[in-house]
């Protein structure tokens, strides 16, 4: 038996989700019809980063017509257990968070009370009237100051403000440094950023039979959310149903579990009324998880040819005030430490990786996680090696890269690169960017017509599709790795595919249908994808960390294959043939070599559902509904090279991006159009991170970027046209050969842009080792260098 349908995967199939979204018929959580008796929530947020709550007086708020209740930390403590990320790493300081701060607030924006009212306007009126007496306490926000013995203690169970310190070293590191002809060392600083999906977070909890509660949420992780609600609210998981409607972008920040969700669910259960909470942008900026507040100190021991003999990294990440669920505050810490070696043959490596606590918003996942920073560091080191030795930066990379012929390769921290194209993607990107010509033009000097021109490379590996072993290696033992798929051929022969993912714009309804159509042998238009509902389809780990193609695709392929086998058995019985001789294609099945002896899916399905007079083969069960699970290997490694060309205005320090090339290898491509879309969107976010975005706290922990007028996002005039090419090195370790692609755009853009700017200014001898690279900073560097 075989499937002949080989059309759908690999095609730029236009998206099914577009039409209703374009018509304004998207159903985002705030668009869902709400029962008339729905209650609305507004949270009272602390303006202080660190303070004792001495008293909360809600009497004025309660007196307001339409305010139903005001609850504080003590009230919620009776309804929701303190929430905590479970991380099993030696030396990790376990810590918990009350869903509403009861005694002490630990970052500006932490909620201290919640107002329940008949409308959102009234809830906000009430929130304004809640009087909170705060006793301000000393604050630490800075990563370096956090571990100063004099620094205030952020969390009682995190001694010295160190959540975690991880160490790793191979035996020959010291020898490598001794043998080195040169040591290249640099400090890299990264700005704190946050994802800012245009749809803020929100949820709607509706008590409903037969489940006790239907919980609509803009989450990326509906199964994990349901488990957590059950656990921390102490209700039976089976009585909860979590549904994810359309989600307006997530980028990782909606893969966190937030206090508001627990509060909303708890209140709906207790008040026996629907309860809705829609976040506003102010709250989003203050309370969504943040990212990238990292410091890297990197030292590379190199020989005279620029080959890295040994690498040392000292990584400090700011985890914020609490270790957020479900990944915890060590996500960036362990991530950067494990990923920094990238596509390079690093054989001696040592790291210290520390997560510190500060009075700032919790830090968790944002597209790329640690990688934008660790590649800014290692790719910055590659450029510095080149400058030190007078080599071309591309040449230094090529000398250090693991060549394709040596794949599979297991890197120094044990991650296997099964297939890839590190060298080829760099070479192709150089060709597309006109790299050699650009370098030749620089020979006359980088300053032309008042602009310094530079080119920057980022060649990197991209972690995707992490399996359970991959999470365990990072202490996340309670995070599964598998996802699930159920493929159901309906009595009419149409196909419904359930998958344990939840989309936030990735086009799952289209791409998963492509995967199922091919694996099952169905017609693409006959396959409908259902996801984002814990009541539809089995459990899974859900949608973050560039997982869905790998884990969902793999699970659906397996389930489709089982369904196809079943169809083939039934068809063989009906056609008096053997299952091995049945060819499945385009929703039909025929006996190999005899196309006229054929049945449609519908004819076979009618037999399976006993809707005709044919019998099922002996021992065959009714229906065609097959489920399977797929846990990918440790991690699935994609790779890419980005090359950016920039012009830095000598007078005002502004940066123009004059060219941008991406060569991406995510294994077997399901839908090139959608892959390109992921890449371009990621690059734009990388441009934001490299050049303009920064979340800023005052030294006293107050928030300086509480609006989108102060937290800047790239607009249509800030991004270039992108040139994108693909190399396909199908994974040999994953079912389907897919690798993830969700994050590479952002990862590569940051280092490519930082390196391009550094290259542009390199004649001036200035050091570019921080971001964002705003005009004021670049202009200062230029002026100080006398440029």
């Amino acid at each position: 038996m075989s499937s002949d349908t080989q059309g759908a995967v690999g095609q730029s199939v236009l998206r099914r989700e577009d039409e209703y979204l374009l018509r304004g018929q998207g159903r985002f959580v705030d668009d869902l019809p709400t029962p008339l008796n729905t209650l609305h929530l507004a949270f009272v947020l602390s303006p202080y980063a660190h303070a004792r709550i001495s008293e909360i007086d809600a009497s004025e708020a309660l007196a307001l017509d339409g305010v139903v209740d005001v609850l504080t930390g003590a009230d919620l403590a009776a309804m929701v257990k303190p929430i905590a990320a479970q991380i099993e790493l030696p030396g990790y300081s376990f810590n918990t968070r009350d869903v509403l701060a009861a005694d002490e607030v630990r970052f500006a924006g932490e909620a201290v009370a919640v107002v329940v009212a008949e409308s959102q306007y009234l809830a906000e009126d009430g929130a304004e009237l809640v009087q909170v007496d705060y006793e301000p306490l000393p604050v630490v926000t800075d990563i370096a100051e956090a571990t100063d013995p004099a620094a205030p203690q952020v969390n009682p169970t995190v001694p010295g403000n160190v959540y975690f310190e991880g160490r790793f070293a191979t035996e020959g590191v010291a020898a490598g440094f001794e043998a080195a002809a040169h040591v290249i060392a640099e400090d890299f600083n990264s700005n704190r950023v946050t994802a800012v999906p245009i749809e803020p977070r929100g949820c709607l909890a509706v008590p409903e039979q037969p489940a006790n509660l239907v919980f609509y949420s803009s989450t990326q992780i509906h199964h994990l959310l349901r488990t957590a609600l059950a656990e921390f609210l102490d209700v039976a998981e089976s009585t909860l149903r979590v549904v994810v409607p359309d989600v307006g972008g997530g980028f990782g920040i909606k893969a966190a579990l937030y206090p508001e969700e627990f509060v909303c669910a708890a209140l709906a259960l207790r008040l026996r009324r629907p309860v809705k909470w829609i976040q506003d942008r102010y709250g989003a900026l203050l309370t969504d998880v943040h990212a990238r507040d990292n410091h890297y100190r990197v030292e590379a021991a190199i020989d005279d040819d620029g080959i890295v003999l040994a690498l040392r990294a000292e990584i400090r990440t700011n985890g914020g005030a609490y270790s957020a669920l479900p990944f915890g505050c060590t996500l960036e810490t362990t991530g950067g430490a494990r990923m920094i070696v990238g596509p390079y043959r690093i054989t001696e490596y040592e790291y210290t990786a520390t997560a510190v606590a500060t009075h700032t918003a919790p830090v968790l996942a944002y597209r790329g996680v640690a990688q934008p920073v660790c590649f800014m560091a290692i790719e910055g080191i590659m450029d510095r090696i080149a400058r030190r030795l007078g080599l071309d930066p591309a040449e230094v990379r090529l000398r250090n890269m693991v060549p394709t012929a040596e794949l599979p390769w297991t890197n120094i921290v044990g991650v296997r690169y099964d297939t890839g194209s590190f060298v080829e993607s760099l070479e192709l990107a150089m060709e597309m960017a006109g790299y050699d010509e650009f370098r030749a033009s620089q020979a006359q000097g980088r300053l032309v017509d008042g602009k310094y021109r530079g080119i920057g490379i980022c060649s990197f590996t991209e972690v995707s599709g992490t399996g359970a072993p991959g999470w365990r290696a990072r202490g996340l033992t309670r995070l599964p790795g598998f996802d699930s798929g159920t493929v159901k051929v309906e009595p009419t022969g149409k196909v419904t595919a359930f998958v344990s993912h939840a989309h936030s714009g990735q086009g799952h309804f289209t791409t998963f249908a492509q995967v199922v159509a091919d694996a099952l042998g169905a017609q693409l238009e006959d396959v409908t994808v259902v996801e984002g509902d814990t009541a539809a389809g089995p459990y899974g780990t859900n949608t973050f960390a560039s997982r869905s193609a790998v884990t969902g695709g793999g699970a659906l392929i397996r389930a489709s294959e089982k369904a196809r086998l079943k169809l083939a058995r039934i068809a063989a019985f009906m056609l008096e043939s053997t299952p091995e001789d049945i060819v499945v294609s385009d929703g039909r099945m025929h006996v190999a070599g005899v196309p006229s002896r054929a049945l449609s899916f519908q004819e076979v399905a009618e037999t399976a559902y006993a809707m005709n007079t044919s019998d099922l083969p002996e021992g065959e069960s009714f229906g065609v509904e097959e489920t399977d699970f797929y846990d990918p290997p440790l991690v699935t490694m994609a790779n890419a090279t980005h090359i950016a060309q920039v012009a830095v205005d000598a007078a005002d320090g502004t940066v123009d991006i004059e060219g941008y090339v991406v060569v991406h290898d995510c294994g077997r491509v399901i839908n090139p159009m959608i892959v390109d879309g992921q890449v371009m969107g990621g690059v734009a976010q990388g441009i934001g991170e490299a050049l303009m975005e920064e979340f800023v706290y005052d030294p006293d922990g107050g928030v300086r970027t509480a609006t989108l007028m102060d937290y800047l996002l790239p607009s249509s005039v800030d991004v270039p046209n992108y040139q994108i090419a693909h190399i396909e090195s199908p994974s040999i370790d994953t079912v389907g050969g897919f690798k993830g692609v969700g994050e590479g755009g952002l990862i590569g853009a940051v280092a490519a842009l930082v390196n391009a700017v550094a290259d542009a200014l390199s004649d001036l001898g200035v050091n570019v080792n921080t971001k964002p690279l705003r005009p004021a900073l670049l202009s200062r560097l230029i002026r100080e260098a006398g440029g």
């Binding site: 998206r15 374009l22 018509r23 304004g24 999906p197 803020p200 996002l713 249509s716």
Partner: protein, 162 residues
Amino acid sequence: MNDEVRVTVTVNGRRREARVEPRRLLVDFLRHDLGLTGTHIGCEQGVCGACTVLLDGRTARSCLHFAVAVDGSDIRTVEDLASLDELHPIQEMFHRKHALQCGFCTPGFLLTTVELLERTAEPDEGAIREALMNNVCRCTGYANIVDAVAEAAVELRRRKPA
């Protein structure tokens, strides 16, 4: 002070009347009083443009207007662009060019494009990018939106009776 006042507006060609508090934002009026949830809220700070509608033919932030203050106006929202059978050419090009991912920002971009192409039949790339500054998209990286607008301009010119 919370006394409700009467608002009468024309929305997508239909006269609509309601009593609302003076402080009711136009965007909430459209979404929650009229059920036109295609107009979205991304910031209520006037930056993102997810709430963009056409107010008397021009793009406006519906989060920066009170419903009472636009009494008597003509308002067009994303729901008015397509017919039952067919997408508007601008919507069609957004589809073909993959100019939307999550689709949350998209209604705003569509109305910005309607205005642009009414003002300028043949915008160049620079003019398109300038016009699209009206809106923020966090998913697409803009390039496909720019393409879609350029293609829509061609299509609209083609359809226009000479």
